[in-house]
Symmetry: C2
Subunit: 279 residues, 2 copies
């Protein structure tokens, strides 16, 4: 970005995210905000490797995120082998971008490292099988992964999160040789975006629905935000050549019941099998 | 940042994060990477409000993060009222920075919005009480929050995550008037950092321990990363005037058992009371 960048660019970027005009002007604007606001998921990649040092830089960014009590209870597996990517794509319901990406990252909640260190040091680690630590591992992995996304976009790369790594947790664990107490929270396909496939900034719920002041609110303003997004999302789908569908209908179809969950209704059972406690 | 910025700056920033020389050179370097690598938690704030428009800009950044299947199952409460900040500080074990910050943000997993929309639209939402959706809400909130951290740092602000929002989940829910199926995943104190209180970049585990190639690894290289961090962390503590303690000892004391969990061993029970399913 070589042009000077000011608050007016910020207002434009915020408009693009919400497609509504009633948001305050940002106090200032900079390249980092420009990058974050323009985020989109990329599913079409050029057939080329990442530049040398890019992966390590992205992971250094990930490790720079906060981690609960400095526990660092996450790890990541970087898969470049084509056969392994193909197998993981199958486990993710046949997603082509998992095959096509330069590197497929699998972000792990990793309580195994502390378990082994406790064993080596002859100490007890009786907190590990609690739900609190399961949550800590997932949150640690998510904070790290989101830093990675911002970092890789600053290098001109693109990515898409793959929640479908939770469709078959035991098979994923086997493929990656995960020890007990390690769990693939989500995947992430990373590569150089194909510039011939345009992607758009997906509109989001107006801030009234998401940002609450002092206490949680639910009323007219929140319902208005939902109704507006529903219409804007329909426009977005049309522009992208996707099925014209409102946001409410789309999300409700995703949560209608266990049959719509691509196997993830049995996540709890899978975690038990992987030695992850939920006490 | 007005100076030209190059890959050599990147190598220096990466050295500062790991305190070891064996990492590859970044392919290029930019202000966003510089910002992310220099992250630290801020606990000392100047007694001033955020600039006008800053909070909304930070939330726009948060909402620009990916969200699983576009569900947007998170919300955030922004608390500025001093009395409410004081009460939340008490619930977080008396943390002074929760009282002193300009805005205290509480990041919520929010399945309530979809529950209400299902009700209004006379549809079923039977997936909501599953562990999968609990995890989705927590991950969505974490991705959003981490974008907020990067955005607010780009505006010269600082923050610190507050996991202690999970010490007393029911009381936090009551204070924030949370409906059923909404859960405070963590808090975040935000403000203008006090420049008279220096803070350092906290060293992290060498990449061998965290970044695995093709499959999960555990052996000499991982143990070396742990041992090196243990020593570097001791140096860091000394520099910051904190108790000189190695990393292994510190983290193992945190996970030794339910008595070290500040009440979070009963998280599961608290979630049940808040109507959050874990099926």
């Amino acid at each position: 970005m070589n042009k000077p960048i000011g608050a007016r660019d910020g207002a434009a970027a915020i408009y693009a995210r919400y497609r509504r005009e009633d948001l305050p002007m940002p106090p200032e604007w900079n390249e980092t905000l420009e990058l974050i606001l323009a985020h989109r998921s990329y599913r079409n990649f050029l057939p080329q490797k990442l530049p040398s040092g890019a992966l390590e830089t992205i992971i250094a960014a990930a490790q720079s995120a906060s981690t609960s009590s400095n526990l660092q209870v996450w790890s990541v597996v970087a898969v470049e082998d084509q056969e392994r990517k193909n197998r993981l794509a199958e486990l993710a319901g046949g997603q082509q971008h998992v095959r096509d990406c330069a590197v497929f990252l699998i972000w792990l909640s990793d309580l195994s490292r502390l378990e082994r260190l406790a064993e080596i040091n002859k100490r007890e680690a009786l907190a590990l099988p609690y739900l609190e630590l399961f949550l800590t591992g997932a949150v640690d992995a998510a904070l790290a992964a989101q830093n990675a996304v911002v970092a890789l976009e600053s290098l001109g790369l693109g990515s898409v999160y793959i929640g479908a790594m939770r469709n078959h947790p035991e098979e994923v664990a086997k493929e990656l040789n995960l020890p007990p107490n390690v769990f693939a929270v989500f995947g992430m396909a990373v590569g150089a975006p194909d510039p011939t496939v345009p992607t758009g900034v997906k509109p989001r719920l107006g801030q009234a629905a998401v940002l609450h002041r002092e206490q949680y609110q639910w009323g007219e303003a929140q319902l208005e935000a939902v109704a507006t997004l529903d219409a804007k999302f329909r426009d977005f789908q049309k522009e992208q050549g996707l099925p014209e569908q409102g946001w409410v209908r789309q999300v409700l179809s995703r949560v209608r019941g266990p049959d719509a969950m691509s196997g993830r209704a049995r996540l709890r059972e899978a975690l038990e099998a992987l030695g992850v406690g939920l006490k």
